[in-house]
């Protein structure tokens, strides 16, 4: 495995189900977990809808991939950020979103929920700080 650790940021801007972007992003995150990089996810604009609790796709005949978000902590994802303005414009708060737990297998360090709502300035900063941005 490569010794170089880069900061990967997955920037998600689309709602789930209406298009394939959300599902494709999740697939790439899961595949990318094999490469031992420092991975963060960012949800902006309609991307915030991906994290809504209580999704039930039985009525539209599509796979409900939302439970997968809750397992991201097991796939090397360190942080999940959500843009505050995007939530507010959609009448949503953090209470509407899933929780994602995280545990460091080596140190035993645990976090109950790594989903963090941040302001727009912080979104820009996090983009600036990352080495690679994957846009979906």
């Amino acid at each position: 495995m490569s010794e170089v650790v880069k900061k990967f940021l997955y920037l998600n801007r689309k709602a789930p189900y209406g298009t394939i972007y959300a599902w494709e992003s999740l697939e790439v995150v899961l595949i990318g977990a094999a490469f031992d990089q420092e991975v963060s996810l960012m949800f902006v604009d309609d991307g915030v809808y991906q994290l809504l609790k209580g999704q039930d796709t039985a009525g539209i005949g599509m796979k409900n991939f939302s439970p997968t978000y809750r397992t991201l902590g097991d796939y090397e994802v360190r942080s999940v950020f959500v843009d505050q303005d995007s939530l507010a414009a959609r009448g949503l708060t953090q209470d509407d979103l899933v929780q994602i737990a995280w545990e460091d297998w080596e140190t035993g360090e645990e976090k109950e929920n790594i989903v963090e709502v941040v302001d727009s300035a912080r979104v820009s900063e996090l983009m600036e700080e990352s080495d690679v941005i994957f846009s979906f």
């Binding site: 709602a15 189900y17 809504l52 609790k53 009525g59 539209i60 009448g91």
Partner: protein, 102 residues
Amino acid sequence: MSILHTVNKSTFERNSLESCLKFARDGASVLLFEDGVYAAVTGTSAEDSVKAALDRLSIYVLGPDLKARGLSEDRVVEGIRVVDYAGFVDLAAENDKVQAWL
């Protein structure tokens, strides 16, 4: 001539709903489905324009698409009617034509 207008794109990402509401004539029907259903929810920045439109248009939203996206029917703006797939077919049949705002 009655027209059923359908909107299947998020109002936060595209201007499909905005154009639909601009061009739909009084008394017309509007059905929100797929990513269009996000406009039917209360507390959004689109709520005021949707409420204003309800004074002159019949607005419907497809229930299975709400449910798939984790949105319960009690979050739907008052006056918007929730329909199932059979209701969608009825709307298409009742109107003379369908305009899809893609």
